[in-house]
Symmetry: C2
Subunit: 153 residues, 2 copies
DNA sequence: TGAAACAGTTCGATAGGTGAACTATATCAC
DNA sequence: GTGATATAGTTCACCTATCGAACTGTTTCA
C-alpha cells in the first residue's frame, strides 16, 4: 500500500475505533444492572464460555496480574455469581464456574446487549454487514496470532 | 435481515469486537511511556485535536463525571503535559491546552501507535481495508447519532 | 437584585490495576 | 527419596479512575 494512503487509513481506523469503543462502552455500562461493572461482566462471560476456568487462565486472557483477578473473583463470589471448585488432583488449583444465579444474569445481559447491537446492525444491509464482519474476524485472528507470537519470545 | 442470521451476526460482531479491543488495548498500554496511562493519553489526544478545551467538554465527550476529569487534569498538569488558561470573559471557565512537552509526547505516541497499526493493516489489501474502514466509519456515525438522540431526551 | 444555572473542586467510597512477598502444593533432577 | 524449582493463588501497600454529593465562585436572567 502506498505510504500516504496507509497513513490516511490508519488515521481513519484509529478515529473510528476510538469513537465506536467510547460510545459502545458507555452504552453497555448503562445496560449493566446495579452492582455489576462491565469488567465483572466480561469475566462472567468468559467463565460461561469456558464452563470451568482458573484464575491464572483469566489473568492470561485479560492480560492482567493474578492479584487483580483474585480481587474481582472475590467480589463476584461475594455476590454469589460464581463459585470456587477445588481440584482434588492438584490441590493448588481452584476452578471457577457460574452459579445458577450468575448464569441467569449473564443470559439476561446477553439479551440486552443483543438488543442494543440489533439497533445498530439494522442500519446495514446483509451484504455490507457480512463483509464487514468477515474482515473484523480476520483482524481479530491476526491480532491473536501476533499476540501469541509475542508471548513465545 | 432474517432473525437467525441477525443473531449469528451479532454474536460474531461481539466476539470480534471483544477480541480486537482486548488485544489492541493491551498493545497500546505497552507502548505507553512510564508514568502515562492509556486514559491519560486519550485525554491528551483529545486536547491536541481541539487545541483548547474545558473540563466540562471532556466530561461530556468521555461520558464521565466532571470530578473524574478534575483528577486526571490534575495529574497531567502535575506532569507538565497540559496547562490551564483562564478565560477572562467568563471567569468560571478554565481552558486546557497541551504544553510543548505534552505536544511532543502525543506526537511520539502517535508515531508509535501508527507503527503498531501498520503491522496489522499490512495484512489487508487496499480494497479490503478501504471497504472495512468505510463501514466502520458508518458505524461510528450511527453511534454518534444514536448517542446524540439520547442526550436530547 | 435575588434565584437559578453553570464551571469547576473537594471529599469519601469503590473498582481495578501493579509488583513484591507470601503459602501451599506439585514436579523434576539427581 | 529429597531438595531445588515451578506453579496456583492470596495478601499487602500503593496508584488511577470513577461516582455522587456537597461545595465555591461566577454568570445569567426574570
Amino acid at each position: 500500500m502506498e505510504k500516504q494512503l496507509l497513513k490516511q487509513m490508519i488515521d481513519r481506523f484509529e478515529t473510528s475505533t476510538f469513537t465506536v469503543n467510547r460510545i459502545l462502552h458507555a452504552c453497555i455500562r448503562e445496560l449493566m444492572p446495579e452492582n455489576l461493572t462491565a469488567d465483572q461482566h466480561s469475566i462472567l462471560r468468559y467463565i460461561r464460555e469456558r464452563g470451568l476456568c482458573t484464575s491464572s487462565e483469566l489473568a492470561d486472557f485479560f492480560f492482567v496480574g493474578k492479584s487483580s483477578i483474585t480481587a474481582i473473583v472475590k467480589r463476584l463470589a461475594d455476590k454469589n455469581l460464581i463459585q470456587r471448585i477445588l481440584d482434588d488432583k492438584d490441590r493448588r488449583v481452584i476452578y471457577l464456574s457460574l452459579t445458577a444465579e450468575g448464569a441467569e444474569l449473564v443470559e439476561t445481559m446477553q439479551e440486552k446487549i443483543a438488543e442494543l447491537l440489533t439497533k445498530f446492525i439494522n442500519h446495514f444491509d446483509e451484504q455490507e454487514a457480512h463483509t464487514f464482519i468477515e474482515t473484523y474476524e480476520k483482524l481479530a485472528r491476526i491480532l491473536i496470532e501476533e499476540e501469541g507470537g509475542k508471548g513465545r519470545e
